[in-house]
């Protein structure tokens, strides 16, 4: 209740008033409480007046006390009585009205005490005449015959009658359509109660998919239940439950329709028919169920990838050689050499660096080839592990398998093999734990989900990356012929095994430090057969020098030379090269397992990697711990070219799959890209490793100009080759 200065009630009234006819119990409560204040009375009055169709339109709106106290009240109340009786009302409403009448009388009585008090006062009353207000003016349409205008009016009337007669069929008159104007709308605010949709499923639009869903669910029900029942059952279903039933396609369930016929349950257990006519409430899963469901996990997985895409977009786009979206380029100051590829792509983008620096950066950028670091695959799980090997999946080129294991004998800890996807550089898709370090990896080509892993303890394991489990599918630890020394290289090779009776198929070949090159096949478990035993050849440096005594040939502890690496000829899969720890490279054939075809001796230290050139089939490269890289031709026993660039052991060497003269090497401190067409003395690009990490492995990307470098800290960094 709000009163203004003069005591008038100016309580804000709601615009909508409850309909007294239908909600009379409420109002009778109001009045019976004898709380007949002005507000209620005015409410009642205005509500009644709203009901009437324009009879007392002038009474709508908030009232103040001053408008009462006139005979208009009695008029309106009387007229309300009359209008009430016209409608088909119960006596209760009349009671309401009579209550309201008495209410007004009460009000009038309230007035009287005031007037009595003020009777003694001398009140001056001023009477003035206001100007005449015309409320209604209706000009007369009748004129007396005796007036002056009578004649003119008569003439006008006759003229009009003539006009009317001539009108029909006259050319001067044309029928026309007219359009009425829409008057300016007046806004009136209305409040109403909340509209309760009793059953949310009833009030729906008939959308295409809704019809499709109900049609489908009808069909599935008709299949298993009798046709007569099918119609009403589908009608009794609500839309959402039919949707649910389709989604639970593979579940068998009881059909809990309103008929409750349990005999149908036996016919319904048919996996192909999705007949779950459950009530919608039962379909709502609880929060924990949702959070644990498979579907949720999958959605999270996809969401993570999409987030990564957003975060890594510029770099991944440049990896895939797609246009980079400018939205994601943050206005960073290009400090390092690596990040100024923004300059290259957006030459009009001017960061806040000094003129000289910028100019220098741009000019350097456009001329020389360089390596740009895009991103790196790393997570806490892999930190501290040494990256020992990397392999691309043969079928899905986005999947990379990385093996983590120490090279040294002293630092052995557990090993990991992780499958990373390009789409998520933050967490690997699959993680396989092993007890000993992983030293070699390869994906199979014939069955692309098989990953062969070679371990430091000589075990060869085969994992299936399709499944989520941590353990390998097959293991060679029970095998009789397993390797005794670390498996340094593993490869799946497509071989033509016609002579041995098997079909042309894929074989897994491994070489290890126990000096054996073995071929593994999977028949009832992993079993192996040796392809070659790498015999130690005598150290030919110990020749008889003139004047020296004859020396006995050294006694070997083992007759076999540890093998470090091998590579099969790209064209002729019978021939392969094997590099040993002694520094010799043997050319062998699968058909002979006693003799080498040829031996190439030039390295003084263990040969870490051999690679045939994918373009020139007679040429191969070898790198070794004696700081050197040699380029050989198949038929020459001395290397054709040698590359010395550092004083560190060269761990890995690979040919680029795109360019015939390009290859990359990794030694402990840096990565070098050599281009033989440019220079045979120096690498064209050199990129140093960060402090504390030694670079260990290198892999070229198959389709794009990128190279992956693994280091001893567990990071696999992706670099893009520019300007090569």
């Amino acid at each position: 209740q709000i009163f203004d200065d003069s005591g008038k009630d100016v309580t804000p009234q709601p615009l909508f008033h409850l309909d007294p006819n239908t909600i009379h119990p409420k109002q009778s409560k109001l009045f019976s409480s004898q709380d007949a204040t002005v507000a209620h009375g005015s409410e009642m009055l205005s509500s009644i007046s709203i009901q009437q169709t324009g009879a007392t339109a002038s009474f709508v709106g908030p009232f103040t006390r001053s408008t009462f106290g006139s005979s208009s009240i009695s008029k309106s109340s009387q007229s309300t009585l009359e209008s009430m009786t016209e409608e088909t009302e119960e006596s209760i409403v009349r009671r309401d009205v009579s209550i309201s009448l008495s209410d007004y009388q009460v009000r009038r009585e309230v007035r009287e005490p005031l007037t009595e008090e003020s009777l003694n006062k001398i009140v001056a009353i001023y009477l003035t005449e206001t100007e005449t207000m015309e409320l209604l003016d209706m000009p007369a349409v009748m004129v007396s015959v005796e007036t002056e205008e009578a004649q003119s009016i008569r003439e006008k009337n006759e003229a009009y009658m003539m006009l009317c007669k001539n009108r029909a069929g006259n050319d001067q008159y044309v029928e026309r359509m007219m359009q009425t104007f829409d008057e300016a709308p007046k806004n009136k605010e209305v409040q109403c109660e909340k509209i309760n949709i009793a059953d949310a499923d009833i009030a729906v639009m008939a959308t295409t998919w809704d019809m499709y869903d109900t049609f489908n669910s009808e069909e599935t029900i008709a299949l298993s239940t009798k046709a007569a029942v099918g119609g009403p059952v589908s009608q009794s279903q609500s839309k959402s439950s039919s949707q649910m039933s389709l989604s639970r396609g593979q579940e068998t369930g009881m059909s809990k329709n309103s008929f409750g016929k349990d005999s149908y349950s036996s016919t319904i257990i048919d996996v192909d028919n999705a007949i779950v006519a459950q009530i919608p409430e039962e379909e709502q899963k609880s929060a924990e169920e949702i959070l644990k469901s498979e579907k949720f996990q999958q959605d999270l997985f996809v969401m993570e990838r999409i987030l990564m895409q957003n975060v890594f977009q510029p770099r991944q786009a440049s990896y895939r050689q797609l246009p980079v979206l400018t939205v994601y380029i943050r206005p960073v100051q290009p400090k390092m050499f690596c990040t100024n590829y923004y300059h290259n792509k957006y030459p009009d983008y001017k960061p806040e660096v000094s003129e000289n620096e910028e100019f220098k950066a741009v000019s350097v950028k456009t001329k020389t080839p360089s390596l740009d670091r895009l991103w790196s695959f790393t997570c806490e799980l892999t930190k501290g592990h040494n990256v020992s090997s990397m392999a691309w999946n043969k079928k899905n080129l986005d999947i990379l398998a990385v093996g983590y294991g120490q090279f040294d004998f002293k630092e052995q800890k557990g090993g990991l093999a992780c499958c990373w996807s390009l789409k998520n550089p933050v967490w690997p898709e699959r993680i396989f734990h092993f007890e000993s370090g992983v030293t070699a990896l390869d994906f199979s080509e014939a069955s692309p989900s098989l990953l062969a892993v070679g371990l430091y303890d000589g075990t060869v394991a085969i994992c299936n990356v399709q499944s989520n489990q941590d353990t390998p599918v097959l293991d060679s630890s029970d095998c009789n012929n397993k390797h005794i020394g670390p498996v340094w290289e593993l490869k799946w090779i497509e071989q033509d095994r016609g002579t041995t009776g098997d079909d042309k198929g894929e074989v897994l070949i491994s070489i290890s430090a126990d000096g054996r090159v073995t071929k593994w096949h999977i028949r009832k478990g992993l079993d192996s057969s040796d392809l070659m035993k790498l015999k130690r050849t005598g150290n030919e440096k110990i020749r008889k020098l003139p004047g020296d005594k004859e020396k006995k040939s050294e006694a070997f502890i083992s007759r076999q030379a540890p093998g470090m690496c091998f590579d099969f000829h790209p064209k002729d899969t019978n021939i392969y090269l094997a590099g040993t720890e002694e520094g010799q490279i043997h050319k062998c054939s699968c058909s002979y397992n006693e003799q080498f075809l040829d031996t190439y001796k030039a390295h003084k230290g263990p040969v870490y990697k051999i690679a045939w050139s994918p373009f020139a089939h007679d040429v191969f490269l070898s790198c070794s711990a004696d700081w050197s890289i040699f380029l050989w031709r198949q038929d020459l026993s001395k290397p054709v070219l040698s590359f010395y660039s550092t004083t560190k052991a060269v761990h890995s060497i690979r040919w680029s799959p795109k360019s015939a003269t390009l290859f990359g090497t990794v030694n402990e401190g840096r990565v070098e890209i050599w281009d033989l067409s440019v220079s045979i003395l120096d690498p064209i690009v050199v990129s140093s490793a960060g402090p504390g990490a030694k670079l260990t492995t290198l892999l070229f990307a198959q389709t794009t100009d990128c190279v992956l470098i693994g280091d001893s800290d567990g990071q696999v960094s992706v670099y893009e080759l520019e300007n090569i």
Binding site: T207, T208, W209, M211, Y212, D213, Q243, M244, S247, E283, Q284, K285, A287, I290, L291, K292, S293, K295, F296, Q297, D299, L300, F301, V302, M303, E304, I306, L307, M308, N310, V311, Q313, V327, Y328, R330, V426, W427
Partner: protein, 95 residues
């Protein structure tokens, strides 16, 4: 457990402002943002997803909505809808 790990990783990803998981009725069951924002996002996005799904299925009823991304000037809202829940992630990728 894997679900929680993944959620944690997503949450700690660069630029992610919040994650909301909403059940089929439109009630958020898991959220990393404050109440007011969660309720607002839930209500608005719920309607949007229903509309989007209705649109997709109207054109071809055998089709269904699998993912919805709304990119605005300041951030991106990604919604993975399902029959039983929605997964909403809000990210500001340039942060």
């Amino acid at each position: 457990a894997e679900v929680e790990e993944t959620l944690k990783r997503i949450q700690s990803q660069k630029g992610v402002q919040g994650i909301i998981v909403v059940n089929a009725e439109g009630i958020p069951i898991k959220t990393t943002m404050d109440n007011a924002t969660t309720v607002q996002y839930t209500g608005l996005i719920h309607q949007l997803v229903l509309k989007a799904r209705s649109t997709v299925r109207d054109i071809d009823p055998q089709n269904d909505l699998t993912f919805l991304r709304v990119r605005s000037k300041k951030n991106e809202i990604m919604v993975a809808p399902d029959k039983e829940y929605f997964l909403i992630v809000i990210q500001n990728p340039t942060e």
